[in-house]
Amino acid sequence: MRQYLLLRIAQLIPALFLASIAIWALIYLLPGDPAIAILGPNATPQQLQDLRAALGLNQPAYVQYANWLGHVLRGDFGISYQTGLPVLDLIGTRAIATVQLGVMAFLVSMLVGVTLGVVAAARPDSLAARLVGTYNSLTLAIPSFWLGLLLILLFGVWLKILPPASGFVPIWLDPLATLRSTALPIITLASYTSGIVARFVRSAMADVLGADYVRTARAKGVAERQVVWRHALRNALLPAVTVLGLQFGAFIGGAVVTEGVFNYPGLGTLVLSSVTTRDYTVLQGAILMIVAAFTLVNLAVDILYALLDPRIQYG
């Protein structure tokens, strides 16, 4: 197991390296001149030229990349073109905000998805199962921004019981306030994934419930509830964990839309604003963060999978 872990962590390095090249190159290739973005449309050509030289924008691409990478590895993500603040600081608080939102949404979607999936699989011909099917279709079809807007309208404007815009309140400071301000974005973010999880768990459970070892459990006299929630679910969750892992990564990245709708101060809105303002350093830093988070979550999922399934042997 230890060998496997070390191997996987070692594999992260080339993966992140390639990702960094891709991120840097993608942004480098974007049309638009940061010098203009910073100085505005009225700047003189001389000013622009000076700024470009100062920012090192005239050097060949690989030199610029190498410089950037060198700084990043020392923890220096550069300075935001727009605000002049260190990028790392800027990303820092935003990242925490997005992670908090992502984790809560992840938990909600897991709880809802697993419960619905199990219920639908345990009673395939019931009304409950059919309702779950409808829920699946709805959550897959409804675009998140539309759902978000609808929730804002319903709860924020008409009923006025939740704030229409969401602020970041660290959950360790004031859980109640956190829930109040982020209930709507959590629901929006969680809905799509809860549908996917429910469908996945349902089909995995339907498979497992027909398995020989489930029959053995019943033959031993185990109560049906235990058979479903202990014997069957433990096995059905194995494939579901992999799906959940991929979805978690999507939470962090895909939160862009949801955060935009709710104006939530997270990485998503940061990415949005830095694209519009051509703040390349911030953009690079933010995306690199997101990619790193995604890779780490994937690694965590693999480890979790190995822990849950005793049949898996590595190394």
Partner: protein, 334 residues
């Protein structure tokens, strides 16, 4: 004569599809006496497994099953029990062992955990230590070496033979009156088969447990069973004591079965077989279900129109569902 441990009468198990109803088991009756071994023999699809699953309420999810008839175990009709009452009987008064031992154990729990659960669901107040001791005892009884280490292992670390021993341990855990073993050695190496049977025999003797041994293997039956029931196309065609059945079969199907076992003594180019195939529940022939394949029938009318009941024969406790059972002995010798 003591009451039978299990008494099955007119068992019918069928499933309904959108358009029609299929009877996989159509009127099966048999008894199992205390401590005896009843062999249930038949081809795949004869209904032997479905009968047992139907009795215990373990039919696979999916089709909508109907189970009718009576299955009286220790004085209670299992087919009238539901939910909690049925759950209490399973694993305690009657256990079942299945064909595929490795897939019959839950891969994510340790073996010790699973055997312990078999005891715990029926003795919820037992202490953890008492349960563990009992499990180790059982593992030892079924011949698993180093039970302490094996307790902590997972099913995938067990060979097929070892896994089946574990299943036997689980089945015997609560000293049931009856164990139903569905092809317990079919999925195992021939060399392991003998060992497993011995384990089973020891365990049963220990608790004076009755056994229903489902198999298509006649030699197993000859070895282990006290009495035998032969099934065909969802019905019982013959029941007798084991020696009597092998020496004086009274049903053409039984004769055909025995003839199809290859002999070590004679050389032959082709294996003998019963011509034709067992009918599916959807295509049951009129009258006797076996008549289209029967060497004795010669398309006689009774065979074609009347479903033969289980006729008593010249030997006590030997019944056969053949209108012409008296002719069978003579022709079998041919």
């Amino acid at each position: 004569m003591a009451e039978p441990t299990l008494s099955v009468r007119d068992l019918r198990v069928g499933f309904r599809t959108r358009s029609s109803f299929f009877a996989a088991v159509d009127g099966v009756s048999f008894d199992v006496n205390p401590g005896e071994t009843l062999g249930v023999v038949g081809e795949s699809g004869s209904g032997k497994t479905i009968s047992m699953l139907g009795i215990l309420g373990l039919l696979p999810p999916g089709p909508s099953w109907t189970v009718e008839g009576h299955a009286v175990l220790n004085g209670r009709d299992l087919l009238t029990l539901e939910g909690e009452e049925l759950r209490k009987v399973r694993g305690e008064q009657v256990s079942m062992i299945f064909q595929n031992p490795t897939s019959s154990l839950n891969p994510v729990f340790t073996v010790g955990d699973q055997v312990r659960e078999a005891i715990q669901v029926h003795h919820p107040d037992a202490s953890k230590q008492a349960l563990k001791d009992r499990v180790l005892q059982l593992l030892d009884l079924v011949g698993i070496p180093d039970p302490r280490r094996r307790f902590e292992q997972y099913p995938h670390e067990f060979s097929g033979g070892m896994a089946q021993r574990v299943m036997i341990a689980m089945a015997l855990a609560n000293s049931p009156s009856l164990v139903i073993a569905d092809e317990p050695t079919t999925a195992l190496d021939v060399t392991i088969q003998a060992q497993i049977l011995e384990v089973l025999r020891t365990g049963l003797r220990e608790f004076n447990t009755a056994l229903v041994l489902i198999t298509h293997n006649l030699s197993l039956v000859a070895e282990l069973a006290d009495r035998v029931t032969v099934m065909y196309a969802g019905s019982v065609v013959e029941t007798a004591e084991v020696g009597e059945l092998f020496h004086h079969p009274r049903h053409p199907y039984t004769v055909g079965l025995m003839r199809s076992v290859p002999s070590l003594q004679e050389r032959t180019d082709r294996l003998a077989q019963i011509p034709g195939q067992q009918p599916s529940p959807a295509n049951r022939p009129s009258g006797c279900a076996f008549h289209p394949r029967c060497y004795l029938s010669n398309a006689r009318e009774a065979c074609r129109t009347d479903v033969p009941p289980l006729y008593p024969t010249d030997h006590p406790a030997h019944v056969a569902a053949c209108h012409y059972w008296s002719e069978v002995e003579a022709t079998a010798r041919a």
